[in-house]
């Protein structure tokens, strides 16, 4: 048994697609900061309520978490040979990333709700 449930090609493709999206979003976000920097919390909230920004930020969070998962998974697969320790570590990583995702989504939803 190596690591049950883990795949090869699919994560490899997702890692590359998410990297492209993260790169594009970072360029977009940097251009916003450079050209029309919202200075107050109200301005930031307004910026975030524009549907294009809400959706692109939500997708960025998903892409970032997925990219993190695959990257950390690869490091664990490389350097942790014991299957039990490996599965425990991967479970811990999933929990931390899932918790981080919920926290980020909560922040996004709170901005939209106000």
């Amino acid at each position: 048994m190596s690591s049950p449930g883990l795949q090869g090609l699919r994560p490899w493709i997702i890692q590359r697609i998410s990297a492209v999206y993260i790169g594009l979003f970072v360029i977009y976000f940097a251009s916003v900061l450079l050209t029309s920097l919202p200075l107050s919390a109200g301005e930031w909230r307004l910026w975030m309520t524009w549907p294009v920004n809400t959706i692109s930020t939500g997708l960025f969070i998903i892409a970032l978490l997925w990219h993190c998962w695959i990257g950390i998974r690869d490091v664990v697969l490389d350097y942790v040979p014991n299957v039990v320790v490996r599965m425990m570590l991967l479970t811990l990583v999933v929990c931390v990333l899932f918790g981080s995702g919920l926290w980020m989504m909560k922040a996004l939803i709170l901005v939209l709700a106000q």
């Binding site: 190596s2 690591s3 883990l6 795949q7 090869g8 090609l9 994560p11 490899w12 493709i13 690869d74 697969l77 490389d78 350097y79 040979p81």
Partner: protein
């Protein structure tokens, strides 16, 4: 010219642990290869053990770690080596004695990729033909001599030698995937779609650096990934 050597010695029947032994060789010629030096040293010390056969860089039996980099002793000129020349067995394979390693794991990985043509159609009476273009696709893939220099220089192979197939076996996988006569493409790609066998390659390219035949296993691995993506679309 006199040259100094530090050679890994280990005889499991006599030694508690491996050690490095110093040697000195007088009258080293400018065109001598490392294997020539090892053969002279073996005349002085018959207990020194290593594999060799063709002395031409064709059989791949004298792969070893020379000053930290894998290579074939028979085609490594002494003139380009820093002294003392440190010679060790290829990394991460069990040592049988001195510079001789157990290649069982390496050959098992080679067998795992089914390195033979699989034809499902009835075989023709004459040979299976290829166009010159189809034949050209095999260049850079079929020339591997299975010396093991690439796989044993690969960190992914060091960490997962029993699960990651290693550059040499994957080069062979690519060789049969690219062969127009082979009809097991689907099965071959499915067998490689696993977190370890293929996808532990992180394009470090140590394999390309050390291949004594100048092959590019990293490119071949990239080709396999491309074929997998095309198949999945």
């Amino acid at each position: 010219m006199t040259m100094r050597f530090r050679i890994y010695r280990y005889n499991p029947e006599a030694d508690q642990k491996p050690y490095m032994q110093d040697y000195e060789l007088q009258d080293v010629g400018g065109d001598m290869m490392l294997l020539d030096a090892l053969l002279i040293l073996k005349e002085q010390d018959p207990t020194l053990t290593f594999r060799r056969s063709c002395r031409e860089g064709v059989c791949g039996s004298d792969g070893m770690n020379i000053n930290g980099t894998n290579g074939l002793a028979c085609i490594t000129p002494l003139s380009g080596l820093k002294q003392p020349v440190e010679v060790r067995p290829m990394p991460r394979l069990p040592v049988i004695r001195d510079l001789i390693v157990d290649m069982d794991q390496f050959y098992k990985q080679y067998r795992d990729v089914k390195p033979f043509l699989t034809v499902k159609d009835p075989l023709p009476e004459a040979e299976l033909q290829q166009t010159p273009k189809q034949r050209d696709r095999l260049d850079g893939l079929y020339e591997c001599i299975l010396c093991g220099c690439c796989s044993t220089q690969c960190p992914s192979f060091w960490w997962n030698p029993d699960k990651f197939l290693g550059p040499a076996a994957l080069l062979q996988a690519a060789r049969f995937l690219c062969d127009s006569r082979d009809q097991a493409t689907q099965e071959r790609l499915e067998a490689l779609d696993d977190p370890f066998k293929l996808f532990r390659c992180h394009t470090i390219m140590n394999c390309v650096d050390v291949c004594p035949k100048g092959l590019n296993p990293t490119k071949a691995i990239g080709e396999i990934k491309k074929m997998m993506v095309k198949k999945s679309l």
